[in-house]
Symmetry: C2
Subunit: 276 residues, 2 copies
């Protein structure tokens, strides 16, 4: 698990430096030109996604892993081998439009780079996976405070005792993110996030962390611990680190991912992923 990087602290709750971008396309153009920065808070209302790209030989198993585990691995789009753009990033290029990339060889971090064009093999298949930024925006809009944002750290994430459904070479534990909420807001948070099944959806667990194999909330496996105010209940959502951990544990010859907190900003409106 050491090979799954922790998200660096303090990268999330930051306002756009020098003002907002006019559009997702403008943000992608800036990243393409070399800008490297966290994407949290950029282009509000537009969907940001995780990138995980693998050679074709792993693609069926990985897509099947997603099909069997839609809560931690909601597929927003797939770029087939040879495809470097799509309607989700019109005029863009998946190899350059993420602020920075992490390159893994045999499951180990091998490199970090601001563009991946030279590394991008002809047979790379890119998976774009929903991210909790979408539902966090909806929670904030409903007046629900999110502890890690208020506290200026990254969301705490934990490996659980809940297994994913294996597919081919991929398996491993469900990883969850945790947001403590006052009891009075838990039901509303469930209601709101249930409306976003394409970005992890409803919580997978509410309350006692022991029941899902988490022994100490103060020691997350990824991200940062948050203070849990008196009377707040820990609420757990399926997390996109789950497929990344499963992918790296399978030690593929090559995998390319977004750097933590530096997501691909798509042209899709968050509202597109809302269900009634």
């Amino acid at each position: 698990m050491d090979s799954v990087p922790e998200v660096p602290a303090g990268t999330v709750p930051e306002a756009p430096a020098g003002g907002a971008f006019a559009s997702p396309a403008a943000a992608r153009a800036a990243f393409r030109a070399g800008l490297v920065r966290p994407t949290s808070g950029l282009c509000p209302g537009y969907t940001q996604v995780n990138l995980l790209a693998v050679p074709q030989e792993y693609a069926f198993d990985f897509l099947l892993f997603a099909q069997r585990n839609p809560k931690p691995m909601p597929i927003i789009g797939v770029l087939e081998a040879g495809q470097t753009s799509s309607e989700l990033l019109a005029g863009g290029d998946i190899r350059t439009d993420v602020p920075s990339y992490r390159v893994y060889r045999d499951g180990e971090l091998a490199d970090t780079c601001s563009e991946a064009t030279e590394l991008w093999r002809e047979d790379m298949v890119a998976f774009l996976i929903g991210c909790s930024f979408t539902f966090e925006s909806a929670l904030l809009a409903a007046g629900i405070e999110i502890a890690h944002i208020s506290q200026g750290v990254n969301v705490p994430m934990y490996r659980t005792s809940i297994p994913t459904v294996p597919a081919g070479i991929f398996s491993g534990p469900l990883v969850v993110s945790m947001r403590p909420l006052p009891a009075s807001q838990v039901a509303e948070a469930v209601r709101i996030t249930s409306r976003y099944p394409a970005v992890h959806g409803a919580p997978v667990h509410i309350g006692n962390p022991d029941e899902i194999g988490i022994s100490d909330l103060a020691s997350p496996d990824y991200g940062d611990a948050v203070e849990i105010p008196e009377g707040h209940i820990p609420v757990f959502w399926a997390c996109g680190v789950t497929p990344q951990a499963a992918l790296l544990a399978a030690r593929p010859s090559l995998a390319i991912a977004h750097a933590p907190g530096q997501m691909l900003i798509t042209d899709a409106a968050d509202s597109r992923f809302q269900v009634p």
Copy 2:
């Protein structure tokens, strides 16, 4: 398109001969032992699915085609290469437990057989795809009459001018099934079928068939025409013939499917696929 078989007339609305089976497992055992018959009406409350199996080399493209076209191709389960059973057919065998199979070579019907064990290559991947039997049960339970069942024929199906989203070698038009309903029941039918996204979900079109490229309701491309009573509105649902037609049009070296109307009966309760 000629290579996609029409469902034989008169096979749908039939009661179990000699009484009902005690369970899906009992029905599968009977089919394994050689019984060949339509499955409509058998094991009420349990989900029946389409079977489409292809060699591994086509599996990624086909799964991606499903991911991009969930309404016509809702995936209920996938049996990986080498896997011949799953929790959907506990104790069963996908190669023997369908009443009869159709075998396609290079996209053309090559054979029909009551078991496929000898043809089943080690690298076959089997896709189990949701079927409208599930939502038809829910419509009937709500007192909505279904014309093709009342008239003792198969559901009429039509190629449309609506394209699917291509994936790899797979593409083609959306195929729809049509059920005429009195205007007073259209909203209720939409509400009910919307609750079953895993088995085609809400209608894709209501009313004027011209708008989706259907010139003559009396001449379906597959299945049988039904009489449309005065004042009834044609309601169109995405149909599982869509992936079968796309698959065969791509002319895979081998494909194995259920024979029309003779589905795999799974252990999954229909209610499992109902959403709020």
